[in-house]
Every structure is written in C-alpha cells, then in structure tokens.
Assembly symmetry: C2
Homo-oligomer: 501 residues x 2
Amino acid sequence: MRKVASGFSPMIAVDRKATKPLHKQIYDAFRAMIVGRSLDSGQQVPSTRALAAELRISRIPVLTAYAQLLAEGYFEARVGAGTFICSSLPEQMTSSARRATSTAQVRSGSRPVARRTMLLPPYETFPWVRGFGAFSVSHPAFDQFPFKVWSSIVMRHCRSPQPTALQYGGPMGIEPLREAICTYLRTARAVHCDPNQIMIVTGSQQALEISARVLLDVGSPVWVEEPGYWLTRHVLTAAGCRLIPVKVDTEGMDVAAGIKLCRKARAVYVAPSHQYPLGATMSASRRLQLLDWVQSSGSWIIEDDYDSEYRYGSMPIASLQGLDNHSRVIYIGTFSKTLFPSLRLGYMVIPPDLVDRFAAVRHAADIGPPYFYQAVVTDFINDGHFGRHIRRMRLLYGQRRTALVECLRKEFGSTLDVLGAEAGMHLAVTLPPGFRDQELATRAAREKLWLWPLSPCYLGETSRQGFILGFGSTKETEIPNAVRQLKGLLMGRTVGLKMSI
Amino acid sequence: MRKVASGFSPMIAVDRKATKPLHKQIYDAFRAMIVGRSLDSGQQVPSTRALAAELRISRIPVLTAYAQLLAEGYFEARVGAGTFICSSLPEQMTSSARRATSTAQVRSGSRPVARRTMLLPPYETFPWVRGFGAFSVSHPAFDQFPFKVWSSIVMRHCRSPQPTALQYGGPMGIEPLREAICTYLRTARAVHCDPNQIMIVTGSQQALEISARVLLDVGSPVWVEEPGYWLTRHVLTAAGCRLIPVKVDTEGMDVAAGIKLCRKARAVYVAPSHQYPLGATMSASRRLQLLDWVQSSGSWIIEDDYDSEYRYGSMPIASLQGLDNHSRVIYIGTFSKTLFPSLRLGYMVIPPDLVDRFAAVRHAADIGPPYFYQAVVTDFINDGHFGRHIRRMRLLYGQRRTALVECLRKEFGSTLDVLGAEAGMHLAVTLPPGFRDQELATRAAREKLWLWPLSPCYLGETSRQGFILGFGSTKETEIPNAVRQLKGLLMGRTVGLKMSI
C-alpha cells in the first residue's frame, strides 16, 4: 500500500451559533473534503480527542460525526492504528468531483507572462539523458564514492546541531568552506583568491545565472563557444542578451574570430580547461589574447572550470583567472563532478570590487545556500578525503578513457574522429557525412546506450554530427561491448550507404 | 592550531627539456607558491612518491627539492604525519608578497555592470538580526525540534544511496515530496492542487524570484503591502517592476485603495494569513474583492503563506488559492518556520497552464533542488512527524504568545499597541510619537535584546515607529524579564519627554 502523508489537522471551521448542529457541521465538512479530494484515500484523520481540542468543542459531536462517517464507509478504523479515510472509496464518487474541480478552475481572461521568459525553450527531458549505463554524460563513478566516510561526517553534524547551524546564513556561504575552497583553488588551480571573494552556490548553473544578473543588461552582446553548452545559452537568453557564437578549434575559442564578429562584447563565456563539448584546452597564447582583449574592451570573462580536476596526458594549465592581472574573470567551479551532482554545491571566485553586488543579487535570489552540506563538505575537504578522492578518480577515469580511446580506434579506425580526450569525464566523436546524431541517439536510448548528440550544441546552422561519450561511470570491462553496440547501431544506419565501418 | 585544507596536488609543471635541472624547477615552483601565498602555512604537501608519480618523473629530483625546502625552512616534517608548509613562516616574507599581489590585481579600465542590479540596495546585516535570544524574529524553537527522529531518517538515507539519488534531478523536485506536500496543503490549507503543480524550491525567496521571472516584465506595476516584507521588494526591484504600495489595515490589504492607485497592475504580492509585519488576517470580503479584481484586470496573485500553520485565537481560514476559481494564484509556502530556516526548502503551487514556463525558468536558474533533504522531509511528513511537530509547536507558541501579550499589557497598559498576535511566531507593537525605532533597536542589540524596527517596512514616507517581536524561540520564563528590559530601554529614551510608561 502506498504511504500517504498523514497526521495533519484538516481545515474544518465550526460555528457554535449556527442552527446546524455541530456533529452535522463536522460530518458535512469531512464529506465535502473527501468528495472534493482534499482528503486522500488511506490518509489518517486526527483522533476525536485531538480534533475536539483543535476545534475547542466537546468530544461528543466529534464522536457522533465520526460514527456516521464510519457507518457510511467514508472512514475506516484500523485496530491499534487509528481512523483513516477509507482506502476503497468508489471511483465515481471522487472522479466526478475531480471533473467538477477541473471545470471549476476556469482559465479565462488575459493571462500575461513576462516577454523574456517566452524566449526560453521549454524544459524537456530528451531520451538520451534519462539513463544510467554506458556513455552516460556527467555521471561520476557513483560506486567509487567513499560513502562510509561521508556518512560518518554527516552523522557527526546531525547529532546535536547548534542554533547557528539552523538559522538563516549569509549569501556568501559559510566561512570555513570558503577557506577550504580557497586553499584548494590556490594550490591546485593557481587561482588568485581570498576567502572573501568566494561565494558558495548551488552549482555552476546558479553561478552563471548570478553572474548574468550582475554583469549583463538586456541586449548586451556576449561571446559563447560554438559549439557550446546549451544550458549556458538558456541563462543568457533568459537574461535578454545577444549571443555571439564564436567558433572553437583545437586551441579553444578563436579569439580573433570573436573580435571580428563583435569587438565590444560585454562578456565572454568560456570553458578553457576542457571545452564542452569538443574538449579542447585553450592554448596559452589564446588565453593571453583573450585577457588582452577583455582589458582593452572593458569586458568580463566567465570561466567555467567544470571538470578540470581530471587531466590526463599533459601538465596542468593554470586557470584563466590565475593569469589575469586586472580582475576581469569570474571563476566558476562545481562539486557535481568531483563529489556528486544531486549535492547541488558549487563555488565562484568574484573580482574584489564586485563582491558586494554579487552578494546583494544572491541574497535577493534565494537568501543563501543550505547550511548542512556546506559543513559536511568542509570536513570532507579538511580531513583530506577530497584530495584523496580526486587523485583516485583521476587514475580511474584515466584508465577508462584510455580503454575507450583504444576501443574506438580498434573498432572504427580513422572513420570516427575522437576529440577532447585529454581531460574530464567525456570525449566527443564526430560522424562521417550521412548520419543524423539525434535520430541515432534516440534509437540508442531504446537499447540503453546513452549517446548525447553533438548537433544541438551548435547555435549556427552548420553543425557537426556526432556524440558526446561519458566514461565517468562506464566500467572498463563494459567499454568493449558498449563500443561494439555503438558500431552495430551505426552499421544498421549505413544500410544502403557506401560506408566502410 | 587551525585546521588547513590539505592533500591537493599543487599545480607544478616541469619541463624535462629545459636546461634548468628538474629539482631546481620543483624547488622554484614551491618557493614561488609559498611566497605568493598560493600555499598556506601548515598545509600538507604530497609525499615525494605521489608528486613524482603525478609529474611522471623519477623520485630523485623531488627528494632533492624537498630536502632543500626543508633545510631552508619552507617545509617542515612532522613525524608520522608527512611534510607540511612551515607553520611559522616569517611574516614579512608573505606579507610583502601579499602587497605585491594586490597591486598586481589592478582594476583599471571600464567595468560595466547591469543597470538593474544597481537598483538593488547592498546586502547589509543590521545589528538587530544578528543575535539569538529574546524577541529574535523568525527563529522557531530550535531546542524543541525532534532531532533524534530527524537524525534517524537522515542516517537511513545516507547509508547506501542509489545512483538516482546522486544524479541531477528535474526542476520540479522529487515526486514523493510533491505528493506529501500536496496532501498536506489540501488537508490543512484548503489549497486546490495536484502534485504536478507543486515545485520544490529553496524557500519563499526563490519561489518569489521565479514567479517574478515568469510573470513580470520590466516596468510591470505590482501592488505590495504597505508596510510589507522588505525582501519581497528587493526581488521586485531587481526585476525592474514598478512597486505600488497599498496600505494595510486590520482587514489586510485595502483592495479598493489598490484599485484606485493602479487598476491595471500586473500582479499583487500579499500575505493574507498573517501579514508581515502588522499581522492582520485578510477578511473574507477583501479576499473575494481581490479575486474579483485580478480576474477582471487579468492580474496575478502571489500568495505568501509563510507561517499560517500557527493560528491561535480563531478558526483557520482557507488560503486565497483555495478560493480562487480562475487559477490566478501562485501559492508559496516554506519549511523555514515549521522545520528550520537553514534547511532552505519551500514549495509553490503553480496554475496548471503555467507549470511548463515555471519549470523552464527554474531549470535555467539552478537546475533543481538538492536531492537529499527532499527525501528526508518526505519521510518526516509521511511518518507523521511533521503533523505532530506542528501541533506541538502551535501549542507551545500559543502559550508564549499569550504570556508575551499579557506581559506587554501589564508593563505598558495601553501605551503600546499590540498588533497581529492571532497567528505566527511574531507580533508587532507600535510606539507613541517621539521614539525612533531603528536607533532603539541598535541600542537594544548591544544589550542582547533583538527588536526588529517597524519603520524600514514602509516604502512611503509616513511610517509608524515600532517593533516586531518574535516569540518562537523566546521561552515563557524569559518573557517577563525581556519585557521589563524593553521597558527600561524605552524609559531611558523618554528622559526629558513627558511620557507615562
């Protein structure tokens, strides 16, 4: 039996001066709420004693009303448990009322909504994002997360919380976590920062959203990577900005092309460590070129460093923020890839002169982050578990990535281009002409193969067809089969086409 | 000793082809990071073995570099623990570098920010919101929260989480919690709803923010209560709306006055169950008048039902949403008062035709709520703890409120007007002429008496002076002393004034 939320006092008003007797008032109120579906089948009702106390009346009329409701089958008594709304109410009784309710909720007249909101595409769940299994994108290796350690920290904080831990906090997040993140970013990402520049957010998405609020006006031109991350575009679109797609090559965003397209952009969104989706790492010369441009044009850089912790082939490269001498970079990082996404915890490093503006905007948006997991993550970092987990995962993901690249080479030779495998938890493959990635991804999802199509990442019309393949949660032993499955899918598609895969 | 986050791999790049020997490269890199304060005193560095593996070089040059850094006092070895950045580095070494860093972070050139953001007042912490103690506003009785039960639910969910519990969720929140809230709202608040109309948010503030996004354009006129809740105004101001302050009397917002001021407002923000700060409950006739107006003018109602669970003197009154036959109400509720504020969990009920728009806007804003506490609260509700906790607190707060009202009468007679004590966790008192509430509140905070001044709640120029007194976390036994303390404060102020308190 489905568990039904219970134990609330139903909203019943009795009038002691009315001519209708009290027991009849109570009976009618319950009956109306049951027929009108305000009360669910199987839901517990208060005891007669509790309801009488609540209504400030004697228990007698309540007993009378309950007896009648039981007799007529609206209520049922369960021995030792209490009184419940009958779990087998006739369907027609409640469904007719349901129809009545929907008709009653007439939606007539003018219903104006915000114009800018209408620019935003509807929220959709595409078939390829639903599943857990081979090639799922942005899934870390959940089974490798040290939940034992995590639980013990959770428990430590849960036992006897202080009032300060339960009350509203500030918009920047708790101090100890900001200090821990500051140390981490200085050490491992060469970010120039102080704890008071760090804001704890609910993830990269909120960081981007707050940045857009503070920095961008309606109509502000903003460079975005082409192809690029679709959710970034949603934020910028909803902010009313003018998106300037700037093409990405093996050195990352083509800064010269951006300058040619729009020299006076207000800001640029860029993921220099591991561009999404093509995976390029921005070269040092492009980085300096970008920093020069923003300083001369009075623009801002929003640097999304979403999975730079996992870097395989080459030496780590300092963040753009760390190279910037003019405080023009808003640096964004997240725990979604290093811990897990449902935590909804990330951070941003704000230029010192903008901290107050960011704090005001964030406070108005949602007051501040929840306390509890901030405290847990602080201990997880300070006790050394975070550094250890990253090192372990870098090794593991490195192996999975090597296995995947080798398998792709073996099965496809040079037919598929493999891109962006130097870092992160995903790589990209591009398809030869004649393939439609979205169609194939939809088909693959039916076979429980989770391919994210490349073409929706393009704003412009000339898009490449291909897939983003996640390997964070794809075990090394699963990879050969999954790659063969991918091959089968592509072979099936090529019937009638002269392709040699 | 302060705990320092540790165990991250420092960002060191070595070049095997360079003429500078490897050990010198490593020594220089560490020295630069220490002097430049990228590495903190007391922070652990990786073992020589781990660093050599990371850099893909032999261990010899790493050992040589470490030996030199130890000899020169940059590193210190702690037996059995590892190697650390020396915890007693000379101050001038790092402070001179600090100055160098700040000068390097030149903030020159044009630094444009969003125009609308500049309308938002800076985030400030006023002296009276800081403390825990008598009259703290919006503090529930933290010591009465059933943490034992809560911890056991937390533990149950923490032990072996499923991948679905760790992955990104949808923008509406998890289904079981939406079902539980739906049952609660139908039963206890007479809200007309279906689980698919319910969105889980991080609190009333986010609900309001998302509503503003979806419903309001720049320049949209919006009725707000005068006096009213200041954070509401921040959201509407940041959204670029035109605020129309509509006066509040003992029957709640004066709808006729609103129509006179601005018949064509796009929306109205209202807290009909317990208006903030004056505490009026909107009368039935005003409710119907408001619903009539929104239907005829094509406007929206944003109903903030922030603490209606606690209602003392009179019978519960159905929510505005429950009276509305045209789906023109966005209903907002929160767990900040019924559970605790740092949870950051609330909910809203969205008109069916707007659910998709709200989902799209929320997804772009922060993807969705964190998973974990949604699951915990679901169980807390479904196991009956929520209903029980509310009933216990209603009784407790009712006693505290009666004690406070009686004490105020006893000490002040009719000199102070007591308003809005029929519901919630706070009441308001207004001061006779000649008193300045903000000045007094600042002084009171020094004596650990937490009075929220009334005057900042007014948008217009004619504001009443007074205080909002919270009694949620003020024990009955503390009340007499706290009221006498308040009297002392006011007496002190009246020296030289002919007042008879």
